[in-house]
Assembly symmetry: C2
Homo-oligomer: 210 residues x 2
Amino acid sequence: MREDFNHEFARVSGTLVTMAKAVRETMRQAGAALLAADPTLAQQAVDRGVEIGVLHRVAEDRAYDLVATKHPAPAELRMVLTAVNVAADLKRMGELAVHVARSTLRRNPAPAVAPELAELFHAMNAVADELAGKIVAALAGHDAVLAAQLDGDDDEMDRLHTRLFSVMLSPEWPLGVEAAIDGALLGRYYERFADRAVNVGQHVMELAPA
Amino acid sequence: MREDFNHEFARVSGTLVTMAKAVRETMRQAGAALLAADPTLAQQAVDRGVEIGVLHRVAEDRAYDLVATKHPAPAELRMVLTAVNVAADLKRMGELAVHVARSTLRRNPAPAVAPELAELFHAMNAVADELAGKIVAALAGHDAVLAAQLDGDDDEMDRLHTRLFSVMLSPEWPLGVEAAIDGALLGRYYERFADRAVNVGQHVMELAPA
């Protein structure tokens, strides 16, 4: 690969790492705000989500400029388009974190998560943070091994998601329809967040040197 | 624009039109299967979803080949990358239609939609089909006017989605938690389907000749 291309591509990659860090931080704030029913923290997550949207445009513009000005070879082109896909996944992960934060704002001052579900969402927060942390590290180090681990972490999220539904659907569920709907939609945001993280992992494996 | 580029780009566009038709048909089958609690029709929708995935790869490969072999000018490059974005949105719409179909299969032989919600989902099916039909027509004709209408249709879906929740959360809701969770998740699939349709509309406006 040409020096020139590599230099420009490193700028695109750098923006992806910045995006991934912002996604991790947004989900961390959104998850903490959810469990603490803290509207100030939830609003911070929403604001940070806006920054992720800006970073997404920066990443796309840099990628398109690179293609337009450097006439990349086919293998280089694949790398750029993979980076564009990763940027789209990270943007969506940021939007899902904002959905979590908005649930807290919508129910404020009541908590959006029923006490019966707090432990499960605590565990889902931990998995989401681990996934996001691995994405940051994998993108920063082009680390295919780390990226491959994301699939296993997603399995853990799926297990938690299944348990969430079994709790809400058990005859002992004391909290009625509204709390269950909140729980179901929140569970779906976390599940989609993890799905997108796995997508990113697959893309990073394509980007990593063989 | 060069004749050569236009010829190749028309092949990419043609694949998008085929994809959009398949998405429309999949959502139509999934929606009909949902209201009729018809597992055979639901399975057909799932199978058609697989075809959409294949078409997505064809569209992406054609787009990447075009960039690699034709060295598009910057304005041409934007068009190709916009087409790649449209393909991703259509793929996701197909996945959401498959989610609707899977709900029918999961609850079979019981209906996944409570009788109390049938009318609302009937209306959501109609909006989804109208959105998908406009996407097909807009992509086939590069019609920016039609594409711009998608935003208004999405507002209608949002209204239906809001009504769905108010029905499930009213004190008169007779059906308990499981039916409400099904309703909430199905509602979200339709809402996301409409969101993605609006995305496609915005992209088609970028593609249309000024």
